[in-house]
Symmetry: C2
Subunit: 765 residues, 2 copies
Amino acid sequence: MKPFSKRTTSLLVAAGLGLGAASSTWAAESLQDVMKRRGLSQQDLLAASKTYVPTGKRDDFIAFSSGGQSGQVIVYGIPSMRILKYIGVFTPEPWQGYGFDESSKKVLRQGNIDGKEINWGDTHHPALSETNGKYDGQFLFINDKANPRLAVIDLRDFETKQIVVNPIYKSEHGGAFVTPNTEYVIEAAQYATPLANKKFVPLERFNEEYRGGVTYWKFDRKEGKLDPKESFSLELPPYSQDLSDAGKLVSDGWSFTNSFCTERYVGGIEKGRPPYEAGCSAKDTDYMHVINWKKAAELVKAGKAKKINGHDVLMMETSIKEGILFLIPEPKSPHGVDVTPDGKFITVSGKLDTHVSVYSFEKIQAAIKAGKFESKDPYGIPVIAMQDALHKQVQLGLGPLHTQYDSKQCVAYTSLYVDSQVAKWNYCEGKVLDKLSIHYNIGHLMTMEGDSADPKGRYLVALNKLSIDRFNPVGPLHPQNHQLIDIANDKMQLLYDMPLPLGEPHYVVAIDAKTLKPGIRYKVGTDSRTDKPHPGMVRAGEEKTVRKGKNVEVFGTLIRSHITPETIEVEVGDEVTINLTNLERAQDETHGFAVSTYNVHGSIEPGKTITVKFKADKEGVYPYYCTEFCSALHLEMQGYLLVKPKGYKEVKVAAAKAVYTKADYEKQVKTNVETQAVIDSVVGYITSVNYKDFPPVVALVEDATDQLNKAGEAKAKMDEAAKTSDWQNATLWAGQWWQYQVKAADIGLRAKTFLEQNGAKKTGK
Amino acid sequence: MKPFSKRTTSLLVAAGLGLGAASSTWAAESLQDVMKRRGLSQQDLLAASKTYVPTGKRDDFIAFSSGGQSGQVIVYGIPSMRILKYIGVFTPEPWQGYGFDESSKKVLRQGNIDGKEINWGDTHHPALSETNGKYDGQFLFINDKANPRLAVIDLRDFETKQIVVNPIYKSEHGGAFVTPNTEYVIEAAQYATPLANKKFVPLERFNEEYRGGVTYWKFDRKEGKLDPKESFSLELPPYSQDLSDAGKLVSDGWSFTNSFCTERYVGGIEKGRPPYEAGCSAKDTDYMHVINWKKAAELVKAGKAKKINGHDVLMMETSIKEGILFLIPEPKSPHGVDVTPDGKFITVSGKLDTHVSVYSFEKIQAAIKAGKFESKDPYGIPVIAMQDALHKQVQLGLGPLHTQYDSKQCVAYTSLYVDSQVAKWNYCEGKVLDKLSIHYNIGHLMTMEGDSADPKGRYLVALNKLSIDRFNPVGPLHPQNHQLIDIANDKMQLLYDMPLPLGEPHYVVAIDAKTLKPGIRYKVGTDSRTDKPHPGMVRAGEEKTVRKGKNVEVFGTLIRSHITPETIEVEVGDEVTINLTNLERAQDETHGFAVSTYNVHGSIEPGKTITVKFKADKEGVYPYYCTEFCSALHLEMQGYLLVKPKGYKEVKVAAAKAVYTKADYEKQVKTNVETQAVIDSVVGYITSVNYKDFPPVVALVEDATDQLNKAGEAKAKMDEAAKTSDWQNATLWAGQWWQYQVKAADIGLRAKTFLEQNGAKKTGK
């Protein structure tokens, strides 16, 4: 990379020297000292300044990345490249309770195939919902290549709400891609198989009976769900369909799916035949499929589809006859097909060709209208000549794969796998503008909202498939490397290497952070997977345990720092159902719930209700507890599941002796009064400044007030016990009063710190 | 926080202005422009310069964090705070194939309890193996609180090798902690239960029959395994034992375990009783357990232990009689117990006390030798008076929890949960040195090797339990926040906010990166979970499929970019075993393996052999493929599992017609000759410089040479086919030759880029 200009460098060095000489305060080490100690160049410092996000500040964009074989979705911030969340999608994940509580288990089990539990997925291509071709921040879709499935994630709470299984494929690579108003989510098959389920056909009948396809899943935005009944597929030849993209603006209503192995080669290296990789890359071109999905949907409505496995499929014959399916040759084993923001062009890269090919939608339409085809493929699909559809071909380098777009007119970026580079080029004029080396072997790449109708520019992320020597070694299995690149200027600048610690992401989409409006709590008693009131919810004071025969059902609650009930008594063999509602209203006050050795875990965010179920098949004593460090006394947020032998008779045991005396009681009350003085002083500070101008503080004050109200309830119980000289319970309730005070003080101190650090001003009141 | 000195600030501003005025090269935006645009202060820039790690550079320390309820271990670099890996431990994880291939499944299933599969864990406290009290970088231990288990991770490959189940507890919080030469790994119970398995005892018999304990797991370093037969426990009172630490140097041979709820309170909020949190925090002090573990081990060897569930337990009576167990009061509901680097002091923090208490090992020993005890607890254990053991008590603030040590003599750091602060203080003189606000509610904290006999100073990480408003919102479930703090100077400086995207870490340990020596490949054919040769391994050319009755066993291989075999044929109902060996020697050339809809996934790093098993119970055609983007043609790394109906008779089908002609063959050969010229020029460059001085390049050159050798093999097959005018196969083998050339070119270009970017010099040869 090029150095700074000489003048620039010397000025910064001068600054550094200046810093080095000064500083008698806490900055014991100057900026130049640090740069020297850590071996940072001026360019490194500039890069650092472009990615560093100080405490309390926010990232500009939020990226949603596939997690590859982890079966999850990865959420990270740009430009800091900090991972904010892994979302459980196809793989059970206990931290979120995903696949552990009954509601999330139901979502996960929608993904069973042929009655078999699938506990992982090979997530590939996330897609954000769009309105008029622009990201609207409402939903995220993600596919599973290994087991042909699609999932829907709601961006109000970042939870997976639905999984659907493709009814006719055995694998799918080319999903999820949405149409401009999220009418449909596109999912294309990859490896051809017979479409009828559980049908065996020998490989010798590959050309005749194996098939590919592309599915259009209808999305019901109001329900937030894909609607299988309104969804349909097109039968396609046994070419390995690969990626897809939907047309937009001028090309809205059409979609494009490319393919490889149009050679229809069947390997057999174990029998001395060349492997798939040779046979599937022998020809110089493969085919882009051009599909009129709007007309296809009408044809399905008109009853022209055939039912396969109960699913509407437009057979090739129909698609050809109705003029909704065309092919165009595309150079060699292509991977990406990417529609430009204006919808006018489609760029395709052939992995084994050095060019990127830009097709013109206008030319494609002209050829179709004129009925000008160079040939038909072996299945009778009309083939448009490449030269009749091509706008430009640009030589970029070795192994071009995917293309994304800039906010600047005509500017595109393409990944070069073999060259390990990103090429910046102009697709209108067909010229290369810049190249940047990455580390190493880039697959997808991504610009901000760069596959939408309104790209935001500024940053590009290179999804490198190998990291090799970039990070500290962590054994034979390496992290991936997502590199952040500044694309705001003429020359690209590499800013940051981000290791991906779990999974091998394939594609990622990034949205302007301001477009997302996630919630921080649920309405009390919500089943988050259905977004409906949970039948197991109860409010504080209504907790109960109900037995019906062998079924014991608990309706419990969680709040800092106790679980109600604190004892659950069952007999061995009972079926136990535990419903738990988190009564907290405070942000980030999640509680967890675990029962020793029963493989039970739940994550219960503020307002959520969950259900866990298990059979109490082991006699004994099993502690349960909150797995979150939710307050200073989180370890004391505990209880016991008692599993008694069958027909167990209660043994009369003498009540435990009282331990605490009037003196203990009075001592505790004295402590409480002193603690109240501390709280009063914090409250005094908060109300003396303009705290109402700080929404996070207003929320904290509400939470603190809530805790103090609870303190009042405990104090009332204390007074009642004291009245009857029950010093044992009076002391303990005095202790509970103090617990609430401690929690209120905790919150109050946080609010005070926030106000002090964020420039609150005295109101003079 | 305090600002820079005036002079410093003005100089840096001057520098920024200078930069702003210059720069006509790519750095279109100056440092000052960036700071202004992004709202960064001078202090932010200094912090950025302290954490930013440029591409290709390494972190100084590697942190191993518990993953909380994710059941995993999180590995991250310091100071960059980038997560490098999630290691599957108690939870199945498909990216790593953990719990999916047979060997890793065996490790995971060692953690079954009462025959029940447990698919998660609540990991709490990681511990690195030690030699002479210092981290040696060989092994990592981690516990599961919910289901009392311990796991061993080998730091040569960062894989979990063993899980053991505690034979007498139902939960355990206070593990893992190692003795100074990793003789034992300490694990303490948390919630008291009857020690005999599956024994029900009513809560009314809590004091009499519920028990706590501490277990000493013998570690066999040569085998890299915990040895249950040589391990033992001490029965302890039903106090909730909490954290532990081993003595070191002067206190070697002793260990310390604290506790809460020595009130032995049993809750019952559902019956109108005060909750656990009140009853368990009523007393002003709890107990630190002081144990002579060396003598305990001798007593067990001498046969003084009682067998409970087949495990050696020293009963309280014995421990008291033999003088190996003592108690010392410690203030209120303590959480951390941390031995100083010199082994002379033990610091304890009471969550509900504002002090940290420093106990002197010398004073404790003097009291024991003198038989000077203030009392006995209800179980007859001698209690040393607090004032007889105390060195200092220092008032730090609200909610003190854990303490870690600096490389500077006598300097310690303690987390303050309620105050949301870190306190820096001097434990020799007992005075507070500095305080820093964190965000928010810190649990553990960690300095570099800060719990070893040789702390490294420099950085501190605050493990904050709440992040609240620190990051972009991602729904009701928030990430955790680990904040990096510079402790090299007198005043602490907050450097970086790191979100934890999966799990709720409890504790973390960090080791000097130079001490770790992980490998990058296995000896070919290794079962990584046993570190032994895998019986299913084969070398290239030896692949085979063996049928024995209903059992079909495949012995296959993986190499860029084909799977051998490419077809697996079975009958419905067959039991299928697939062994796969990754033949790659190149770093980071991992292959994955998935079979459509059969819930099968493997991760096969270079040299590894794995086995996956399933029943082919569904007739049909099921693609399999490599799930890693391992080369440009990774999608073509595919094959078919054919599940035929029972008694299926092969149908004679005409062989596919030849597609390729002599002209195709000659065209491909021409391409190959041209490609070879490119390769030769890259090789020419590499050999013209001092590439042997760059170990990563030497490795790449070896890999490229390997690919070119394989190209030779494909060329030989091509020549053979051409000799018999079999242009079909000649063309395809020519294509395969080219595939190997492309891979060699890919590697060569990576080597060339590396040399250019790292200042290789012409050798003049």
